[in-house]
């Protein structure tokens, strides 16, 4: 079930919200949490019932480990728990990828039956691994099974995040169970945030998606302008798709009285790579910083102090190595393909250059130059993120940089002749109307991506006025008008 599916919007959500508040008001918080768990199980099972057993098995297994770690911390048990989680994730998501590549290294061509990757496996696995580590480190004191189950399978964040930490949800869940906490007080804001997210996804992301798709589907037939157009269109699609989803998740959370963390903070305003990763997919970055980057970096720094390494050695091993490892893992987390590895590598290079720049105390570039360089790096990484293969991604990037592929569309032949630029009928920019519409989408979405603040970072600015009601109504009606064919969310595949 997708958040933009009419079954979810008009049946599942109203029923669950209504029952939740009814039960909460009559029976109590604990019963309403049981309803959330049951509804979440139904929500997940709707996609593929057999894999429900995997999700429930994972919850039971991790709860058992957590329970024992809280009673008596044990590195051995933690290692076992983490490895078991990784083994399940590895089997479903990475087995074929690794085996096929090992085969290639050995000069063999091994073909494996395709495994249907359980929906959200990366999200619920990492969330539980973080919880195990936190239990071992003493960041968590007590966990009730109902709180644990709600934390992992709460349907607003189950499928594609935000990746929440128990330490930020535990208190809220306890209050909810004890019939206290936010309750209905966040409901109105939740509705506003959800509608905004739905609008971002259905009207904006799905609106520009066909333009991006049309470019990436003909990677070998593009000209420079088309390649640029497609890459910019996809950069905007990805943001509005995922931030729309995240807003919907946060909004849904608020409808149930739970405040989920935000995932985006105007990322396309970033003026450096370091700044970008503080604004983009914030909860994933936080997870990797806390559980991958920091442990590696700290252990290296400890060694460097003991071994009296030079400053250069410290920087190389304490910054460059952890960044590279973190982003390689982050790339692979998105999917078992070399394109995702390349996505991680490009971002790692961008971050290393950024750190190096700071380390060498080079002059800070002009804000616009910084923004431009950041966006270029990000767009290149997104080409790998979206392309079907490394070869196609390389082709698109080369086309973007190749002056020889600057060919005007035939309907601009007058200007092309004037400027001395060759012209042809182009595959994507085949008509003026299509191209102008694409350009219009790009301009509007660029402005919105730079100006539309991410909720609920600025919740206190929202007042329930008639103006808000009109804006929301227009957004909702436009969204419903375009809802005939709900499309999947990009991050659902991870």
């Amino acid at each position: 079930m997708l958040f933009n599916d009419p079954i979810f919007l008009f049946l599942f959500l109203p029923i669950v919200v209504l029952l939740f508040h009814l039960i909460r008001g009559t029976v109590g918080g604990e019963a309403s949490m049981i309803l959330i768990v049951v509804a979440s199980i139904f929500f997940y099972g709707w996609w593929n019932p057999p894999y429900l057993m995997l999700l429930l098995g994972s919850v039971l297994f991790n709860y058992a480990i957590t329970y024992h770690l809280l009673k008596k911390p044990s590195k051995l048990l933690l290692t076992f728990g983490v490895l078991a989680n990784m083994a399940v994730l590895g089997y479903f998501k990475y087995r074929n990828f690794f085996m096929e590549n090992i085969g290639l290294l050995l000069g063999e061509s091994w073909q494996f039956e395709e495994i249907l990757i359980p929906l959200a496996i990366s999200f619920f696995t990492f969330q539980q691994v973080a919880l195990l580590v936190d239990a071992q480190d003493g960041h968590i004191k007590r966990v009730k099974f109902l709180d644990f189950a709600t934390f992992v399978i709460f349907f607003p964040q189950l499928i594609a995040g935000p990746i929440v930490l128990y330490r930020e949800m535990g208190k809220q869940l306890q209050l909810l169970r004890k019939d206290r906490g936010a309750g209905l007080s966040l409901f109105g804001l939740g509705v506003v945030t959800f509608i905004l997210g739905l609008f971002k996804k259905v009207a904006l992301a799905d609106g520009i998606a066909p333009f991006a798709d049309s470019v990436f589907s003909v990677a070998d037939q593009l000209t420079m302008l088309e390649a640029w157009g497609g890459v910019v269109a996809y950069t905007l699609q990805l943001y509005f798709d995922f931030s729309g989803y995240s807003d919907m998740a946060v909004g849904l959370g608020m409808m149930f009285g739970l405040l989920l963390p935000i995932n985006f903070n105007l990322p396309y305003r970033a003026t450096s790579m370091i700044n970008f990763w503080k604004r983009w997919h914030i909860t994933m970055t936080r997870f990797f910083m806390m559980y991958v980057y920091s442990p590696i970096s700290l252990s290296i720094i400890r060694k460097s102090i003991l071994n009296d390494w030079s400053k250069q050695q410290q920087f190389l091993l304490g910054v460059i190595v952890p960044i590279t490892i973190t982003f390689l893992i982050s790339g692979l987390w998105h999917g078992a393909a070399w394109t995702f590895v390349a996505f991680g590598v490009v971002n790692a290079i961008g971050l290393v250059v950024n750190h190096l720049w700071k380390e060498l105390r080079l002059p800070k570039p002009n804000i616009f130059i910084g923004w431009l360089l950041t966006m270029l790096t990000i767009m290149v990484s997104f080409v790998y993120f979206r392309a079907d293969s490394i070869a196609n991604a390389n082709l698109i990037i080369l086309t973007m940089m190749d002056p020889a592929s600057l060919i005007f569309p035939n309907w601009l032949s007058y200007y092309a002749d004037y400027l001395g630029i060759p012209w042809h009928t182009l595959v994507v920019f085949s008509s003026g109307t299509y191209t102008v519409r694409m350009a219009g989408w790009i301009v509007v979405l660029t402005l919105l991506s730079l100006s539309l603040k991410n909720k609920p970072l600025h919740l206190d600015e929202i007042r329930p006025t008639v103006g808000l009601a009109i804006s929301l109504s227009v957004m909702l009606w436009l969204t419903l008008g375009w809802l005939d064919e709900p499309s999947t969310f990009i991050y659902f595949q991870f």
């Binding site: 409901f187 070998d220 042809h424 595959v427 109504s473 009606w477 008008g481």
Partner: protein
Amino acid sequence: MNTQWRKFISVTFPVTLICIALLVEVFSYLLKDVPLRRHDLDRLVVALQEGGAINSPTVLLGDSITQDVLKGYRVAPIGEVANLTTNKASGVVGSLFLLERYLEKNIPPKKIIVASTPEFFGYDPEGKAAEIYLTSVFNKAKERGWLLEHMGGKFDKQKVEPAILNIEGKIGYKILSLLMLAPNSLIEGEEIPNKIPVLESSPVHHSIQVSIDNRANKPLILSKIVEFALIDICKLTPEANLYFVVAPMPETTYLKRKEQGEIKKIKNKILKQLKNSCLKVDFIDINEHRVFPDIAMRDSDHLRRPGWTAEYARLLKQIIKEIESDYSQALQ
């Protein structure tokens, strides 16, 4: 939830939602008679509706390769040919409906020429294209009846939907139409293609060659719906001769189709289907008389401008002029 938010969620927001929906519905009702002018076909329909009688002895139907030529060139003296060419998206059915609408104000022509790619006869509009170029353009009861009879349940009845769920179609395009000048005559180019033009000979982008190769690999078929539409074209004009002009094809595509006997097959099928419905049916294959090398194309289906387009215009002009005599000589 504080009082302000409670009031917002339970009163202000739902009431605003309903008010906006009602407002849009009223607005849409006020605009309901404004004809759409989203694309050339819409404008052609408006021109037939708003313009006076032309009573041309010849009607020219066809898909975009011919439509493209007619936008720039005059292939017959003024008033001699009624240009009802459109693009492929509405299919031959669209051509039938255009002819039907033309006949509402004009006397039946003596000659009907269908100048198109052979792929036009295998194409049935469906999905979004059918909605934009067929069902939303031709929605008279008779036309919907035809679609229902021959194209099935998807054209069953007029789609009833609140205007608020189709603001783009029911308000947006209508306002744009109001901002445009109403066309009241059929499109006719200005330039008369008398001389042999200078033809483009520079190589084309490799992507065009890919799309030409793809075109050649798609088999030619005659759709059942097209058969019905062609029969009805003849029934509408029982005293007219029907001429099919096979429009220029890229050389490699043409040779492949010819080698496989596809063009002959489709020609024989059409002749067989129409022999009892039409007065006279004949075929003129422009490609038999003039080679259009792959470099003549600006994409798989259309000719490069200005040279090759002018060349097709020149040949078409000759065909129209000589069509009732020995048209094969006209192409020399």
